[in-house]
Symmetry: C2
Subunit: 343 residues, 2 copies
């Protein structure tokens, strides 16, 4: 018996006075091992709770069966849902997942990448941080021949696949919904504009107005970089105070939408009667606020699952395929905050 640590093939070999090769083959049910030996090995392995050393295997096979994930924050409902999807898809194929959070910080994103590359993960799934515009650290990854897949936030000009939602269409649908609710002056609380995701939503917002013969007013597009409730609330306070006849708000995330809700409440503006509000992401709490918040739902779990599967596919084929973009559909969830029909 060993004093500490897990048993190895060596330990078993020594105890049975046979060689490592034999033990290895016995455990994998190779032909050419006598039934007696096989039995003895398996019994001992079982008794000592033998588990193959994944480290040694990784070194020999040049393959860790780990996929790395770089994510802005784990603590957001959407992202943790994505992780859940990744986890399930990976585990199903015998892969483990190593997660690093960048905290939306460029430098830390670099550290995460370094750590994962050092760990020799078989591939990395990344959702770039808000701060990231220089892609050198990511370019190194593909240069080293490590598969990479982006999720949620599209990254262009790089030979890597992406799994995203149709942000343009989601925004378009949300704004059109507001128009159908008879909104005439719709404000867009936008996300950071350096993310393609944010620009797509602005485009969707603009197109929906255009297609419905409504003017696009630049002063109605307000950037909320951090996407916090406070930020959005302050922005709305200002808009309301300015006397603009706002009767609709499309926020680029649910926190911002709640901020708008709070601002409206403070100003005595009735939601949805005087102002219809819709958010983005359909966070868990969205249905619980009063009035329940309409939102554009993004299929977080599916994004994670699709991204992981795309990754596994790339890992398993030797030749690098052309990178692809997988676009998942969003869905407008109409709740009380924008529903004037039943009001």
């Amino acid at each position: 018996m060993k004093k500490s640590g897990q048993v190895t093939i060596k330990d078993i070999a020594k105890e049975l006075n046979i060689s490592c090769s034999t033990v290895s083959r016995a455990l994998k049910d190779f032909p050419g091992i006598s039934p007696a030996t096989k039995k003895a090995v398996i019994e001992l392995a079982d008794k000592y709770n033998y588990r193959p050393n994944a480290i040694a295997l990784s070194l020999r096979n040049q393959k860790t069966n780990i996929i790395g994930v770089v994510i802005p924050e784990t603590v957001h409902f959407f992202f943790s849902t994505v992780i859940s999807g990744i986890e399930d898809a990976a585990m199903k194929e015998g892969y483990n997942v190593m997660i690093c959070q960048s905290n939306e910080n460029y430098d830390r994103e670099g550290d995460c990448i370094d750590a994962l590359m050092s760990a020799r993960v078989d591939g990395v799934l990344v959702c770039i941080s808000r701060e990231t515009s220089d892609l050198a650290h990511l370019q190194k990854v593909v240069n080293d021949g490590t598969p990479m897949v982006f999720f949620d936030r599209l990254v262009e000009g790089m030979n890597a696949s992406s799994v995203i939602v149709d942000d343009y269409q989601g925004a378009y649908d949300a704004v059109e919904h507001l128009i159908h609710q008879n909104c005439k002056n719709i404000v867009h609380l936008s996300g950071p504009e350096n993310l393609i995701i944010g620009r797509k939503r602005i485009e969707g917002y603009s197109s929906a107005l255009e297609d419905n013969n409504m003017p696009i007013r630049p002063e109605y597009i307000v950037e909320c970089r951090n996407g916090t409730q406070e930020e959005a609330e302050a922005a709305m306070d200002k808009l309301i105070a300015s006397g603009m006849p706002i009767d609709g708000v499309f926020a680029s995330n649910d926190m911002a939408a709640i901020g708008a809700l709070m601002a409206a409440r403070k100003a005595g503006i009735k939601v949805p009667e005087d102002m219809a509000i819709i958010g983005y992401s359909d966070w868990q709490f969205s249905r619980m606020v009063e009035p329940a918040l309409s939102s554009v739902s993004q299929p977080g779990y599916e994004i994670g699952k699709e991204a992981a599967n795309l990754m596994l596919q790339e890992i398993n084929q030797k030749e690098k395929q052309k990178s692809q973009i997988k676009i998942l559909d969003t869905e407008v969830i109409v709740r009380a905050s924008s529903n004037r029909n039943s009001a």
Copy 2:
């Protein structure tokens, strides 16, 4: 130049016509390497973006610098907050984190443990699933000499430390708060009773009543195993329909509290005037419902941080210390749903 994959010490050695040992020592700034060699090695390593192979290091050092985490679900606000705390504490000490979610499932918890042990993580942090009562799979971990620390959900009878919140006190404080709000008939929507955590809350609930000379009525303690809104709502529907004069609810989690809120709303019972409600965990959305939900806040980030630090401490000392239990304080956050003073 290599065709693919990351460069190794060998590649550098070959290109400079020196031995691996020299390269290794040059990179670590060992004495006894000529300045010229040192310079050449470092330059080449830099040029090729050399990163030490953590796998090889792990194998040699018998140490992976990875800590494993087994968590019921990543997609809950509380748990993702814990993960965030673990991540930060680990990263600060140069450790990576490998996360497996058990989905509150016993078998899958076993698979997670197996995967992590196979990966030879230096220690595991675990929050056992609701289903877990047999501890054999965890016992194997400590038998193998791998440090283990439990968090959030206490596990007794095992030589491992735990980081938990003072659930007894949290429940006690919550119930006493309701009593101070003049509640006379307080219901407890309890969690699953096989978790110590659930029992502690029942004890806290009971003690608070006792200490205030109020009767403990078994029919006022209703188990909500799954902790979902629907389950709690149904339970409350039944209690309300039975005609019991309930004027206070202490729920063992915020979802259940929301369920109670919904049931009250349906029944035309005013909150907090006719019924004061307080939840547990202080989820992010708790402050956003209407009326804003009172709750017992648990320091998720601190739990993660403390657990990780305890783990790192255990990893770094050769001799196994006596295991300890670290208890973090909860805090009653009073909001509209239980505040009758300003109402």
